[in-house]
């Protein structure tokens, strides 16, 4: 690692882009995953433009309609268009996934970097707290947080962020400890560079790839957990077009024949999570053949 020449930023970016393209081209599963994710992102972003139906508008007269050209995914028990709700759900899930990943990566990394570089009692305390978080089933912990702070989408997100912290913190800490002993970092320390400077200049760049892999895994995990919380009523609340909430709603009607209410949102979760876990898997193969991060 230490003796790899660092190319100029521009070439690096171009090379990365080309490598990424080649990877996708060589691997049909990866291609499939990327296309799927792009498609869902497009639906999330452009849904209201492409399909200008209000996901919240009730229309009892149109309730429980099977999928048709007018309602590609049918309508639910109070006549809301399931496709419009599906797109809105994609927006919620992807945003929560992104927020959790970003926040978890930022705070988790900070904790790990701090614990790893500063060491001592701070390290011990921080890591014990992280262990304690990991000891709980993630769903139960997220539930406890939401209940403590009041049930809703925001608190659910917060709870999921909390459960994601240890994955990043542990990863970064172990990376820091490993890198700290590399010759060039030791040299920087010897010539009196400040710890935070060393962290910024030397350690972060080296951990970016592992961070990326972990982020992809956490993204899928966040979406799955959000849907679970929504399903048991501890996440997004009822009219919100969140996929987990929609599945709960669909459950009652599935057994009387209106399968589409619950099946489509579930497909959405499945698609996002599968796509990200395939991407995480391939990232790992490409960047980190030995595997240092946790499987979620």
């Amino acid at each position: 690692m230490a003796d790899v020449a660092i190319p100029a930023p521009g070439t690096a970016r171009r090379a990365t882009a080309r490598t990424a393209l080649r990877l996708v081209h060589d691997d049909p599963q990866l291609l499939f995953a990327s296309v799927l994710l792009a498609l869902l992102a497009a639906l999330a972003a452009l849904g209201p433009v492409l399909w200008p139906q209000n996901p919240l508008a009730l229309n009892i007269g149109e309730a429980l309609r099977a999928p048709s050209p007018a309602h590609p995914m049918g309508t639910d028990n109070v006549g809301r268009d399931v496709f419009a709700r599906f797109c809105a759900g994609a927006r919620i899930s992807l945003s929560v996934g992104a927020i959790v990943t970003a926040a978890g990566a930022a705070f988790g990394s900070l904790i790990g970097l701090g614990a790893g570089t500063l060491g001592g009692w701070l390290d011990a305390v921080l890591m014990r707290v992280m262990d304690a978080i990991l000891a709980f089933p993630p769903l139960a912990l997220a539930m406890a947080v939401t209940v403590g702070l009041g049930v809703g989408l925001k608190t659910a997100t917060l709870g999921i962020v909390l459960t994601s912290l240890p994955y990043f913190a542990r990863l970064l800490r172990s990376e820091v400890i490993k890198i700290r002993t590399l010759p060039f970092v030791e040299a920087a320390t010897a010539i009196g560079a400040h710890p935070s400077w060393i962290m910024w200049r030397h350690i972060l760049p080296h951990t970016l790839s592992t961070l990326l892999i972990q982020s992809a895994a956490v993204f899928g995990y966040a979406i799955l957990t959000l849907a679970g919380l929504g399903f048991v009523g501890l996440g997004a609340q009822v009219p919100t077009p969140e996929w987990g909430v929609m599945i709960t709603n669909g459950l009652q009607y599935a057994l009387t024949g209106q399968w589409w209410i619950g099946v489509f949102p579930g497909l959405g979760v499945l698609a996002v999570v599968t796509a990200t876990s395939i991407i995480a898997d391939r990232l790992r193969d490409a960047l980190d053949p030995r595997g240092r991060y946790a499987h979620l």
């Binding site: 599963q29 304690a132 000891a135 709980f136 089933p137 769903l139 139960a140 539930m143 406890a144 209940v147 403590g148 899928g220 799955l224 849907a227 679970g228 399903f231 048991v232 009523g233 501890l234 987990g244 599945i247 709960t248 669909g250 459950l251 599935a254 057994l255 024949g257 399968w259 619950g262 099946v263 949102p265 579930g266 979760v269 499945l270 698609a271 996002v272 999570v273 599968t274 876990s277 395939i278 499987h295």
Partner: protein, 340 residues
Amino acid sequence: MIRTVGGRLLGSLAAIFGASVVSFLFLRILPGNPARLILGPLASQQAIQQQVRLMGLDRPIYVQYLRYISSFFSGDWGFSYSNGRPVREVIATRLPASIELGLYAFAFAFVAAVVLALLSTYRHRPVVDGTVRAISFFGLGTPPFWFGLLLLLAFSQALHLLPGPEGRLGPAVAPPPTVTGLYTVDAVIAGQWGTLGNALQHLVLPAVTLGLAPFAYLVRLLRVNLLEVSREQFITVVRSKGVGRWTAYVRHALPNAFLPTLTAGGMVLAQLLAGSVLVETVFNWPGVGALVVDSILRQDYAVVQTFILLSAFAYVALNLIVDVLYGVIDPRVRTPTGAR
């Protein structure tokens, strides 16, 4: 050997201690008066004051902790106001359902993982391997409650092969006389074969639903290990003795690949036994998972507190069992290294 066993026991004790501290602090972290949290929003002022004395909330914190622990071990787990019964009774009625479901789910996850991992890595067949990998991605990416819904749609609603979400037994079937609380076992003990069949039918879909994600996780782990082991030289050596490909694979590659999976298996089982709200909700399964969520929602924290500690016990116990199993299966753990 003695030292490692001692070390592990010490580790387990530490883990239990940690969990007991967490479950003890649980009520104190939540905003509000712990006595009120335990008794619920409807308790009278007088009852709360009595509870404060009972819990020793006016005493130093370590005394409170010691009281909590000693009453836990003496079997006094508190009172569940939302059920109107002692926590121990409430949990005792729910736990067997979760344990039975968890065991069947684990059996499914485990057997399916071993079989599919063997198939996917045996003889380098990309199509089989690709299919198994796709299945495992599906298993990891599927929301379990949604998968349960799909299974119900297919096997209950469309094909009428298996019962719908009606819990552990059909409405017309009486539970067998309680011995273990596991209906399938109790039915066998009582010789009620009809009840056994009915209970098994009701277990299929929930067990598969609950076991799907653990299955996917185990199959991935086992697949990688198998790939690694099957490249080892000793497999070629076995083959050079004239042993067939499949025999070499099952007799030599599998046990070696299996060892690193054991720890993961123990953790998976511990989680499964603790019940799952998501799956229990879909199938109306009367387990602890649903009980705990109900209790959270109704702010009946005595139940939650007990549940935390009990899961910690299960977790620690299973880890100990796994350690013992390692000793049985892996000679490198059982006997000292080095030439005699």
